[in-house]
Symmetry: C2
Subunit: 341 residues, 2 copies
């Protein structure tokens, strides 16, 4: 049976919400099992709270944890018995292990992914790719959003290919439209990096390049993939997140002001919920770390069960839909074969 | 009398909405007059529609317009009788002219500002600085948001100083808290440019440096000034704009679905308006182009009268509150004296 390895100790709400979320996923989908890595006693205590099919759950005890305070490279090397290192090693070595999900330190997940699982042949730099809710009611894949603060044009070209492969494999996008995130829509916009990347994207026959896009097009535009260097991609992702949080804080404040506004909320709660649902990141799962030999999903550090559940399902779907193989095929079928870092 | 020069031909809704907006500003504030540059017949036709004090309005006829299709440097040099070139030249030469407001091509406003009005002595690169509505109900000054796609660490340091001066002069911020926009809050985050800028900001005694901030802190944080290179600042600004537009599109859709949702809107319209007001960019005016010898305000290209009016008032206030002098004082009082580009 296909197995999803879940880092039970990663994130602000571990292990309680992580375990709870993974059990939710088991209830939603059949034909897979979960293997938790982490403090067995704490994981078992949480498992005991929720009825579940014990034959679909395994626990691998680990004595260590990697935190946000650890230096990633050092932690991956020295904390060999951490939930993250044990989980990723399992993913690499166990042929039944399909994917790894963690809400732990982003830096450690990225470093561990590259050191322990390894890159697909030909991939210059793996990249983080979350789905951002958009005005069309679907998602825009933003790649890279933080794995690579400093990029070369060739990296951006590969981000476009990997995210397109992800769109095809996981979201049935037949010809994902790709935009290059810069400071204007004209072809000459941006710094040298983005100008050169624009030319590479334009010349690449394997992607559907729609030209440069601006930040507003991530949510309010018509592309399926927004390609970014990891620095500005991260800024775009977090800016949107801050705007969403601000909207929800203001709505809460407005509707809690007095009795009249509380009544108004009762009238309009269905519509407000419609908005909240559309903007809900958690529902869309985590960021997939594209370019590794196996599927790795990084969930937000503040994830609760309702965010872990879709992350586990997302990991399962990505595996079942042959994400890694699709990236391999797209990378080797095209012009990228001749390029090198 | 203090005179605000208004480019009547710039933007998608010129000259109608530009003239209308400037007349609104005349009604809201006393002790200033407006000088329109542009097609006199069209401006007069619009003036005739709204009762106003004719002694506070002048028109300077021009035969040319600069559009978004023009190459800025070439347009500034060749279209000498355009509303933008004539307006900026007036601003420079007329001692009564206090500020210039345009909703025209950003590139042309930036190029014209530098070529025709000139930089304050010691300013390495002027920068665009809009105010972004934040969760506290005030605004975060984002500088630079697009004038300089490629930056050096010293530019970022000056952006911090100029935006702090703007906060002091225009918004009564006594000690504006400054954050450096990067991909993480830790000191070592970002590329070399941002790491070096971090050290300069930390060492500068004239600003209140709060460390690195992430995109989410622009709207959902506690800084008054967010310093950014013009490339990622532009992406942050537009990302937030796209999120706001998406929220308002979804709300419209949700509340227009059927009769029940239309009734729900009637109940909650006060709260929805509360949200719309807080997120309303137009109300906050345009982006000030900091670092020039005179006040220049760039209003959004899609500005209607309700956005032009606050831009004119913002320009007047910036002049009356000695924006240019405050920048000069802050630049020369500190460590920056010794630096050079």
């Amino acid at each position: 049976m296909v197995k999803i390895v879940v880092d039970a100790m990663g994130g602000d709400n571990a292990p309680e919400e992580i375990v709870k979320g993974a059990l939710l996923a088991l209830r939603e989908r059949e034909n897979f099992s979960v293997l938790f890595t982490g403090d067995e006693a704490r994981i078992r205590a949480e498992l005991a709270k929720t009825p579940h099919d014990a034959s679909r759950v395994e626990v691998r005890h680990c004595t260590e944890e990697i935190t946000n305070d650890d230096v990633p490279t050092h932690a991956i090397r020295s904390k060999r018995d951490s939930s993250l290192v044990v989980g990723m090693t399992l993913l690499k070595e166990d042929p039944e292990a399909a994917a790894f999900v963690s809400a732990g330190s982003t830096g450690a997940v990225l470093t561990g992914g590259i050191m322990l699982i390894g890159r697909i042949k030909g991939v210059l730099r793996p990249a983080l790719c979350p789905g951002i809710p958009n005005v069309r009611g679907s998602r825009t894949l933003l790649c890279d959003c933080g794995a690579n603060a400093e990029c070369k044009p060739q990296y951006l070209e590969q981000f476009a290919i990997m995210a397109s492969a992800y769109g095809k494999a996981a979201f049935h996008m037949e010809h994902p439209r790709v935009g290059l995130l810069t400071n204007g829509t004209e072809e000459h916009k941006g710094d040298t990096l983005h100008q050169e990347a624009h030319q590479l994207l334009k010349a690449n026959p394997n992607i559907e390049f729609a030209g440069n896009i601006e930040g507003r097009d991530i949510m309010f535009g018509d592309v399926d993939v927004a390609v970014a260097d990891g620095f500005s991609g991260n800024i775009a992702l977090k800016s949107v997140e801050g705007c969403g949080k601000t909207v929800s804080a203001i709505l809460k404040r407005e509707f809690k002001k007095n009795l009249a506004s509380k009544l108004a909320y009762l009238c309009a709660r269905k519509q407000i919920k419609g908005l909240a649902d559309m903007l809900d990141y958690a529902k869309l799962g985590g960021s997939v770390f594209l370019g590794l030999k196996k599927v790795v999903v990084k969930s937000h550090g503040s994830s609760k069960a309702n965010a872990i559940c879709p992350s586990v399902i997302q990991a399962l779907d990505a595996y079942n839909n042959r994400l890694v193989e699709t990236i391999e095929e797209m990378l080797t079928s095209g012009a990228l074969e001749k390029q090198d870092a």
